[in-house]
């Protein structure tokens, strides 16, 4: 696949970070954080991809068949779990922020610096 997945990864990271930096709404910030994390899925799967490789289940294919790397898939799965935990927590914070501050604008939240 060459360099294309890496360019895509870089693009997704930059897009996500740009979104966080310019965000005016916490939900938007959190979604942009998910975008940044999505780049790691693309990168992990891209790193382990083998052209023409089969799915790495050595059950109905003979041992020694060309297969994609199963390790990165396990890593991507773990990554998904981490993302689920972080996103759920952040969204809960955002709900509380809306209740306490009456706004989701990060620059107005900062008025009440702890």
């Amino acid at each position: 696949m060459g360099i294309v997945p890496f360019l895509v990864v870089a693009w997704i990271i930059v897009a996500g970070l740009y979104g966080i930096v310019t965000s005016r709404d916490l939900i938007h910030t959190i979604v942009c954080l998910i975008v940044v994390q999505s780049s790691t899925y693309v990168l992990l799967l891209g790193v382990g991809y083998v052209t023409g490789g089969a799915a790495p289940y050595f059950w109905d294919i003979p041992v020694g068949t060309r297969a994609v790397d199963p390790v990165v898939q396990a890593l991507a799965l773990t990554d998904v779990v981490v993302e689920a935990a972080v996103t759920a927590l952040l969204l809960a914070f955002a709900v509380q922020a809306q209740k306490r501050f009456g706004t989701l604008d990060p620059s107005q939240l900062a008025e009440f610096k702890g």
Partner: protein, 611 residues
């Protein structure tokens, strides 16, 4: 005995899960939760202490399910323990035990998931210290992180904690994802996730751009956790609002874990491959000293005592990084001892502040002026710990700092260290003198102050007439441990042991041999100059100058209105308030901008020095 490695993380995790599952049973018996959590923390501390003792001669490795590497290829997952890594984890467990005892009477109700989160936090810290696998490093980092975010927002019904937790969680998550990107890149290049196997690959190939980028990205997340300028903004926001027993762990261990991660990555994985030792040393030294100065300046101007202690942690993190960055065994040994001494005295200070909050319902220094005279015992503990933070001999902080200065043997580094010590020590001693002894002129009534003074109302129980012993004893014990760490490290045998452990930590071939071939490496050929670790006259004089300077600065800050040099109505630093508020703005967008700018700058510098 090998099972100790696995037990040190499974025991807290299983206990957390069990507490979560059986919580409804203990709705009326919250003491059971307290007892289990404190008991588990103490048990983990004992297990890790035993690991420190057992690895004092040579590091050892534990392979989960017995999947040992063969022919230099790793197929399993390992924990690798040496005195420094197990020691840091043990420090975390000791502080956890102390804050569990402290919170016995601190919280008004059994409330929420405090114990469960604290135990998963403990498991995350322990796993982070011991793991020998870069992807697991990320997973433990996130486990520790998610528990910490939730603990920061433990009082979600208030505004400050929500805002602090959001900034903390988003900044740290962005850092963690950049780290994961680096880990994926290094896996793509080397086909390995085990640190030793990556190190074996990297050290036998010329440094390529990809390796440098991977190193930069991996340490970004750790720099955020380690609160190094310009990645440090989240720390003050989070520390100021987290419950005080949690702050003990944040300041005492969590920040240091980020720095430990950088040290681990550099020495165990990338050091030999990257080369350019002098340039990398200078780069991290510059980062550390910048952080030390920025943290100290912000610390001195702060009036919110928890934020003040948070900024002092940033300043100290910079000094720890400077100690690592010397890349010598003595520098690392000094940093390790400094981390230990600092953790104990900083924890004691936070617990004392927790008592003040419990009794007097405020952490605003101006409002508290003189009101702490009702708390004489707490005042003594705070003052003793404040002198410890100001590096008074023979506290552990003094000797650790002294070793770093001896190792650098550079007057300018000593000068910067003294300046930071004077500012941070002066700030903490100013609080001690003003709050607990009523020294100095009573502050003028500030309209904003009264509003800010009582904003921390929900954290602890109704103000009581007596301070419970379960709060005083942990604080006093931690201050005493800070003193004991310094006294113990003065023994030549222990000092030599710490330095030997540091030299082993820095020896990459020994690490690779320990992990890949289960070698029993007891003696390393130090690749770096070794200087003996002892108490030099120079370090004592430097520390005494620093303490005297801090005391003088504290008195000057308390009595500045009487100084003849100043015109009437002058407020020190009044003109700086607006720029400082803009810098430390509390807006997450700004923090991420600084983070991106910091990564880009570091990347540029690394690209220039490593070709």
């Amino acid at each position: 005995m090998d099972q100790l490695y696995a037990l040190s993380v499974t025991v807290p995790l299983v206990a957390a899960a069990a507490l979560l599952a059986t919580r409804p049973l203990f709705a009326r018996h919250r003491r059971v939760l307290d007892l289990v959590a404190a008991g588990v923390s103490a048990a983990v501390a004992v297990m890790l202490g035993f690991l420190v003792f057992r690895t004092s001669g040579a590091d050892s490795t534990y392979w989960f399910a017995g999947f040992r590497p063969s022919g230099g290829i790793v197929i399993g997952i390992d924990f690798e323990a040496g005195p420094l890594s197990a020691g840091l984890a043990c420090l975390g467990a000791v502080l956890m035990t102390a804050s569990m005892v402290f919170s016995w009477r601190y919280f008004p109700r059994a409330g929420g998931y405090f114990h469960v989160l604290m135990l998963t936090f403990l498991a995350g810290m322990t796993g982070f210290c011991l793991t020998g696998d870069v992807f697991d490093l990320f997973v433990w980092f996130e486990l520790m992180g998610v528990s910490a975010y939730a603990l920061t927002a433990y009082r979600p019904e208030e505004r400050g904690p929500i805002q602090g937790a959001l900034n903390f969680a988003i900044t740290n998550s962005v850092g963690a994802y950049l780290s994961l990107t680096g880990i994926a890149l290094i896996y793509g290049r080397t086909g390995a996730l085990n640190m030793a196997q990556i190190a074996a690959y990297v050290s036998h190939h010329p440094p390529s751009g990809l390796i440098v980028i991977a190193f930069l990205l991996i340490i970004t997340g750790l720099l955020v956790k380690g609160a190094i300028v310009p990645f440090h903004f989240w720390l003050a926001d989070a520390h100021a609002v987290a419950p005080t027993p949690v702050c003990v762990l944040f300041s005492g261990v969590m920040v240091e874990l980020g720095l430990y991660g950088i040290a681990r990555m550099y020495w165990s994985v990338f050091g030999t491959g990257l080369g350019h030792r002098a340039a990398i040393s200078h780069l991290f030294l510059a980062l550390g000293l910048l952080t030390a100065v920025v943290g100290a300046l912000f610390c001195f101007r702060e009036r919110h005592v928890k934020r003040l202690l948070a900024f002092s942690t940033i300043s100290h993190a910079g000094m720890f990084l400077a100690g690592f960055a010397l890349l010598t065994p003595l520098g690392l040994a000094g940093a390790a001892l400094y981390v230990t001494g600092h953790a104990f005295v900083k924890a004691a200070l936070f617990l004392a502040v927790g008592i003040v909050l419990h009794r007097l319902r405020s952490v605003n220094e101006t409002w508290l002026h003189g009101r702490g005279r009702r708390l004489p015992v707490t005042g003594v503990i705070f003052t003793v710990a404040a002198f410890g933070l100001a590096d008074l001999p023979p506290f552990g902080t003094f000797l650790g700092k002294g070793w770093i200065e001896d190792s650098a043997a550079a007057p300018w580094l000593t000068a910067i260290f003294i300046a930071c010590g004077v500012l941070v020590g002066g700030a903490v001693l100013r609080v001690a003198g003003g709050v607990f002894y009523g020294l100095g002129d009573p502050p003028g009534e500030d309209p904003q102050m009264a509003a800010e003074a009582n904003e921390e109302t929900g954290e602890t129980d109704e103000g009581r007439q007596r301070t419970p012993l379960s709060m005083l004893i942990p604080a006093a014990a931690l201050a005493a441990l800070g003193l004991a760490a310094g006294v113990a490290a003065m023994a030549p045998k222990i000092a030599a042991g710490i330095e030997a452990a540091a030299a082993r930590f820095q020896d990459q071939p020994a690490y690779i041999a320990t992990v890949l071939t289960s070698a029993h490496v007891t003696r390393v050929a130090p690749p770096y100059p070794v200087a003996p670790a002892d108490v030099t006259v120079g370090s004592v004089v430097t520390a005494l100058c620093s303490v005297l300077g801090a005391a003088a600065l504290a008195l000057a800050a308390l009595y500045w209105r009487r100084l003849p040099l100043l015109r009437r109505g002058y407020e020190p630093g009044a003109g700086l308030t607006v720029p400082i508020r803009r810098f430390q703005s509390g807006i997450i967008n700004d923090y991420i901008t600084w983070l991106v700018a910091g990564v880009a700058t570091l990347g540029g510098v690394l690209a220039l020095v490593i070709r």
